[in-house]
């Protein structure tokens, strides 16, 4: 099965090409089924590769399949090659697995949309790009996928492009991503310059051997981190993710919860040796940015009223946790949280999509309520997702979040405290969302006139194509924690699996206070989660305490408007200054040369009097000069 590695990205690519040519012919729902089948096929192949790798002993779980020599230019030799190792296969499994579930969901959600086939066209292209990203054997193939997912994200966010907000959101996402891409490119240039190769094996090997160290390693790590901030929506480049909710919900689930946004975390994990040999403040910086983003986004989520926006900020917050893990050297915990987050966040998004679908495209939570009776499956699965993200044992989110906070405490108790507060807020706002949507009184009666001539407006459960994926994901959210339970080393399946990839960079916390007292920390985490839930129930359920939703939080700390003001004000001034410099200084210099020549010419032209006698005088002077020269050269005396 390892030889069929290339089939994994090839299937979605084939799907893309077939729908590109025959999309209109296939129409709904065949285009959707084809796309789903392609991604499911990739999943099957990936599973096969996974078992093949498992059969090999630990040291040999590293298989490279090179398709062809892509860039043989001088000393730069880059192949289009795929790498099958524990990390990439883990990523491939959940990308294709969750991807196929979402494709299935989308066949139901996008029912009736005139651009049905186009949607699956983009979705397949996206899966292809994401697979290139995670399976790349070198930075260039990864970058190809990186750009590809950014482009597909743009296509998909602005899918309903006739709506101006959607088109703007797509542009915003693309431009912000591009800023991050600069970081990746700089990282690539530096890596090539320092290690002479772009392949991960080469770069990591160079880091482990000490060829790359100190300043170079720090520079590479931070440049790639800038790219990760863009793609994974960390401060200060997170702004595109909330706006990206303009896209259809399956897009939000697939791209902005489970897959694309995790690319940054993946990249950091891939080059963990480089981060390890960089200066100590580099991973600390990553951890600080991560936890700051987590806290920042959590505060904003508390005050959001759009069902998807809450989940968007929640995603930003959870990604912040993942970077906190990366910065603390807890790569296994980061991947663990990435996988569990993919399960429950996709579940939550798909669930919200189901709610929106059932509410006839109403997204404001203030107009929902008591939906658990009318949409039981959606409600049940959503609640499971809620418990997972809030960090309630034994659901998946609890174990992964706890692992991260353990390593965070080992790095610095302050990081732990901020992380804990964020976990509290996470429990709080997610409970708020659940209560507002599924419990309380039904507030949708009043809006019945607004949603078309349905007669008696009544929210309804979604079709099977939509709730089957919900159920599957709910199941995974329940048992997902089993990958890495902290009770005993024997249960650390994920850690043993990922060991060869992260062993160089993984922090060793055995013997720290945190490790010795990890059950204490476990207990604190449980208490915090439950108190968050309880507080929210008090405020929103029982309405005993007034809700605190200040406007500044609802506006996202005025971050977006600050950027616009900066760009419009000082930003514009500096742009104008640069343009002025170009016009006056650079062009001026070039034109100035011309002007100097012309002026000099106008002086020299005075010698052209036209009078023969002057010219003759010139000749005479020349003769005298020649005579002088000959005389001086050596007249024999």
């Amino acid at each position: 099965m390892l030889d069929l590695l290339w089939l994994i990205p090839a299937l979605p690519l084939a799907g893309f090409l077939i729908i590109l040519v025959f999309g209109r012919l296939l129409g709904e729902p065949k285009a959707g089924h084809l796309a789903t089948a392609m991604v499911a096929g990739s999943f099957v192949v990936a599973a096969g590769v996974f078992f093949d790798l498992l059969n090999n002993p630990e040291e040999e779980r590293h298989h490279v399949q090179s398709l062809f020599s892509w860039v043989p230019v001088g000393s730069l030799k880059v192949d289009l090659a795929f790498l099958a190792d524990p990390l990439s296969i883990t990523m491939v499994l959940f990308v294709t697995g969750i991807g196929s579930l979402i494709h299935l969901y989308a066949t139901g959600y996008m029912h009736g949309d005139p651009k049905f086939s186009k949607f699956f066209l983009y979705l397949n292209l996206f899966v292809f790009s994401m697979l290139m990203l995670v399976m790349g054997e070198n930075l260039l193939v990864t970058f190809l996928g990186w750009e590809g997912v950014g482009t597909c994200s743009y296509f998909l966010i602005s899918f309903w492009h006739t709506r101006e907000s959607a088109a703007t959101a797509g542009k915003k996402a693309f431009v912000t991503n591009r800023v991050g891409d600069w970081g990746v490119m700089m990282g690539m240039f530096l890596a090539f310059g320092a290690a002479g190769t772009l392949s991960y094996e080469g770069i990591n090997h160079a880091a482990e051997e000490g060829i790359i160290s100190g300043v170079t390693a720090t520079a590479i790590a931070l440049m790639l981190f800038i790219g990760a901030c863009g793609k994974s929506a960390q401060l200060p480049l997170y702004i595109w993710l909330p706006d990206a909710m303009e896209g259809p919900t399956p897009v939000s689930a697939l791209i902005h919860a489970a897959t694309m946004v995790t690319a940054g975390v993946f990249l950091m994990t891939r080059v963990n040796p480089v981060i390890e040999v960089a200066y100590d403040w580099a991973p600390t910086l990553i951890a600080i940015v991560g936890v700051a983003t987590a806290f920042f986004a959590a505060t904003i989520a508390v005050a959001q009223n759009d069902i998807k926006k809450v989940l968007a900020y929640s995603t930003v917050s959870q990604l912040g946790f993942m970077f906190l893990a990366v910065g603390s050297g807890a790569y296994v915990a980061a991947i663990f949280h990435m996988v569990t987050h993919a399960f429950f966040k996709a579940l939550l998004f798909l669930g919200s999509g189901s709610v929106i679908h059932g509410m006839h495209h109403e997204q404001d939570m203030r107009k929902m309520g008591a939906l658990r009776l009318l949409m039981p499956i959606t409600a049940f699965t959503f609640i499971i997702g809620w418990l997972a993200i809030a960090g309630v044992p034994p659901f998946a989110g609890f174990w992964s979040k706890d692992e991260i906070l353990l390593y965070a405490f080992a790095k610095s108790p302050i990081l732990y405290v901020v992380g804990m507060i964020t976990a509290l807020l996470t429990a709080y706002y997610m409970t708020r969302q659940v209560i507002m949507v599924f419990f309380g009184e039904a507030r949708w009666h009043d809006q019945s006139e607004e949603h078309g001539a349905h007669g008696d407006f009544k929210p309804h459960e979604s079709p099977a194509a939509m709730w089957i994926p919900l159920v599957v994901l709910a199941g995974l959210s329940v048992v997902g924690g089993a990958m890495q339970l902290p009770f005993s080393k024997d249960l650390h399946f994920l850690e043993k699996w990922l060991h060869p990839v992260v062993e160089f960079g993984e922090a060793k916390i055995k013997g720290t206070w945190a490790y010795d007292n990890k059950y204490v920390l476990l207990g604190i985490a449980v208490v915090v989660a439950l108190s968050g839930i309880a507080a929210s129930v008090l405020v929103y359920g029982k309405k005993k305490v007034a809700a605190i939703e200040p406007k500044v939080l609802a506006d996202g700390w005025h971050y977006d408007s600050a950027i616009s003001n900066f760009m419009g004000g000082p930003g514009r001034k500096s742009f104008d200054a640069v343009a002025w410099t170009d016009r006056v200084v650079v062009d001026g210099a070039v034109n100035g040369v011309g002007r100097v020549v012309r002026t000099a010419g106008s002086y020299v032209r005075r010698a052209q009097t036209g009078a023969v006698r002057n010219y003759a005088a010139g000749i005479g002077l020349g003769v005298v000069a020649l005579l002088v020269w000959f005389f001086l050269r050596g007249v024999v005396l």
């Binding site: 009097t609 009078a611 006698r613 002057n614 005088a617 005479g620 002077l621 003769v623 005298v624 005579l627 002088v628 000959f630 005389f631 007249v635 024999v636 005396l637």
Partner: protein
């Protein structure tokens, strides 16, 4: 005796030359030119270039200066030119520099190689080639011998010059104006 001849002839040459450049009236200048040419012819004789002396008088003084006078009379440019004014202020100093430079430098060059040229073997200037033929014979042998091609070419040159001049000075009646 040779010294006397030299001095007198040299005086004729210099006076005539200065006269050419200083006389405002062109006719007077032409006559000064004749004086110079005559002085040069005397020098030619002293240098035993008898043929050339004859040719100098006949061609230069006899034909060329006459031609000059023809043209002066034809065009009526015998009005005197005012030599006190000079439109280009820089011209006279430049001319001075050129004149002094040329004279001074050549003199210096010539005198510094005096031993190679001048004094040599005493007071005598050797005769040409030790050849006992007359000067005309010697020149004839040279022109029609070593330099016969140049000779033919000069005849072509003369024809071309004449034809060219006739063409140049045509009056074209078609109203196109004169060249």
């Amino acid at each position: 005796m040779e010294l006397g001849v030299f001095v007198i002839a040299a005086a004729m040459v210099i006076v005539g030359a200065v006269g050419v450049i200083l006389r405002p009236n062109p006719v007077h200048a032409a006559l000064s030119l004749v004086l110079t040419l005559f002085g040069v012819a005397v020098h030619f004789v002293a240098l035993e270039a008898h043929f050339l002396a004859a040719v100098q008088v006949i061609v230069y003084a006899g034909a060329i200066v006459v031609l000059f006078l023809f043209v002066i009379m034809l065009l009526g440019v015998d009005r005197t030119e005012d030599i006190t004014i000079e439109p280009f202020k820089v011209q006279r100093p430049m001319a001075l520099v050129v004149g002094v430079g040329v004279i001074g430098l050549v003199t210096a060059a010539v005198s510094s190689s005096r031993d190679a040229i001048g004094r040599g073997n005493g007071l005598e200037i050797p005769t040409v080639t030790g050849d006992n033929d007359s000067n005309v014979r010697q020149i004839a042998r040279s022109v029609f011998g070593d330099y016969v091609v140049a000779f033919e070419l000069t005849s072509v040159l003369l024809v071309v010059a004449v034809v060219g001049t006739v063409m140049l000075t045509r009056r074209i009646k078609s109203g196109k104006g004169e060249s």
